[in-house]
Amino acid sequence: MSTASRRARVVEAMRGEGIDVLILGREANARYVSGADRLWLAGTRPFAPGCVLPAVTGDVHLLSITDDGLPRDIPVDHLFPISWNPMTILANVTVIPGVAGARRIGVDGMTPLFEQLLAGVLPDAELVDGEALLRNVRRGKDDDEVDAIRAAVAAAEDALEAVAAALAPGVREIDCKARFEDAMTHAGLTAPAFEAVCCVADGGPPRTFASERVIREGDRVHVRGGVIRDGMEGVVARTLVCGDGQLRAPCLHDVLGRCRAGAAIGDLRGEGVAIEGTGIGHEELAADDRLVPGMTVAVEVLEDGVLDGAVALVTDDEPVVLGRA
């Protein structure tokens, strides 16, 4: 989907819910409505206005000192510069056409300071949950978005293959993680979805953080990794065996067969299936949500210490696996 048609869909949803302006602080949300490729940073940042979308104009305005990395349909005069003074940022936001008279403003987070300052400059505006609006809009993927996710998954699978090729007795868990991150860049990508998980399965609770532990012949290694490609996330999860050992993979195929339109997320989780939405990143699914055609999900199963996973597109029939798995 082009960014313009995504934005049109967002604006339509805003009008449906009577939201006059979206003021977004979350980078993935800004990426979704603007198509901007700004500097990748790990972790969370407190809310600050980084992207503004008034329904009345449908134009996106971004906090940026340059148009480098931004789509061509965002003119330079729709950019406002970085400031360490929140009042300066708000002064730049409130002059954007469609902001000053707004009655309902959708935001994707808040801080006590910005709440106070916003009440000062826009005293009549009510703040509502913009994340919930975007979550619903994003849920159904179109063909272009599915293709982008498929391409991201392919890059993640290649990085996982690089780990598999390097896996040998004497290699440390952190060497596997290092190999995954390096291999990601061979596809021209520099933004991981998350740092790779490369941990020996030792019968205890599954671990997340690669350590200096040395991998031995026959060890089973859980590998989970992901990359961001063209604004979409592609993730993989698999168990590799060091050396010649055999392993019986869990019945991922049977599990995927249950991920059909109408299935309740809570029921699937109750049956031991780890399932989450995937797209611009992790996309939240609540227990009472039901799968609908067009959703993309990351599914994982852990059976007898063996982890396996896939990304799938929900359809009216069997889900379509977006990858080679």
Binding site: T44, L127, D129, T190, F194, P205, G281
Partner: protein, 396 residues
Amino acid sequence: MTALVDVPQPHLARMRRERHERLVETMRAHDVEALLLLGQANVGYATGTRVLAADQGRAIHRRAVALVTGDGKPPHVWTWYRDGAPPDLPADHVHDGVALDLDHGTRTLLDDIAEIAGTTTLTVDELTMPLRAALHARGWTIGDATPVVSTAKVCKTTDELACIRRAQAINEAAIAELLPMVHAGTRGTDLTGAFLRLVFELGATANNVDPIWQVMPASIADGPASVTGHVVFPTVTTDRPLTRGDVVWVDNGVSYHGYMSDYGHTWVVDEEPDARRRDQCRRWRDVVAATLDVTRPGATAHDLAVAAEKAAGKRPWLPHLYLAHGTGTESAEPPFVGTDLGDDYDATVTLAPGMVLVLEPVIWDDGYGGFRAEEIVAVTDDGWQPLSALSWAGWG
């Protein structure tokens, strides 16, 4: 550069204990009963909990949440990654992760807090909108945690400084191994791949920013469009190959147990820097020396800015950034020097022992490009000590 084996290891359990004591003491001084922290840099500081370093689109939904109580009992943490909770946290203080963009998650968290702390006043750093709505619906009072957390965090303990120093030493060691790759034909993405492999092999616990290898234009007009009319930096790494004579500004940050490094330098591809570039480097080092000359407890951020400006004859830094910033569990945190908050603000920022400064002046001669690097120091009882050790090979 310092050899990694010679860099002292921090005592992590002592660091967590001292940070918690400092935070509780600051809470009491601010009359704060309970802190609820959602910012991952703050949760890491308050509890020592590690989370998976992830793109924000995932990190926000898989964040750990911390509750710190003024009674001085160990903090509570709700996390999706149980093996990231420190071993000294009691088992019943480590809870399953909560989805704070969903009503169910916010309800679970607030029910837990009511039982643990028995309070209806929460001092928070940030809120999701469902959490904000749930607090309003319960009639709880919301305070601002930023002053408390910033005050506690700004002066580092010995072990925090050791973490920063180790993160920086890992970063510098990786760069030293990477330098032989810096030639015409190498792509920015090749450098990123090799850098990430090296830092993880050397023991970095996370990478926190897409490494920057920005080829700088000779003049601002030749570069990407600038909203402010000033030098545009940083921009996102691409797979464009380097060419002979390119001037590359490098900026990257990897961390060690939550503490950030910040490596900045200027490279010239396949050529020795000429006399004019060496002069830019000399002027940059003069600015740093002049700034460090006045760096001691009691000096203000304004004193540092004045010293730098005097050495350069004009304000030698990017106006949308700063002359210097602090670093710790966030890549840029207080104290700030030379931001657009202005001279009056800078005059209120007084240096104290344990504060960290990342000095990042910029020398720019429009038409001939510029020089930028970063040096990190910690304020001591009577001056400062270095936490970085840049190589000046080739720069005279």
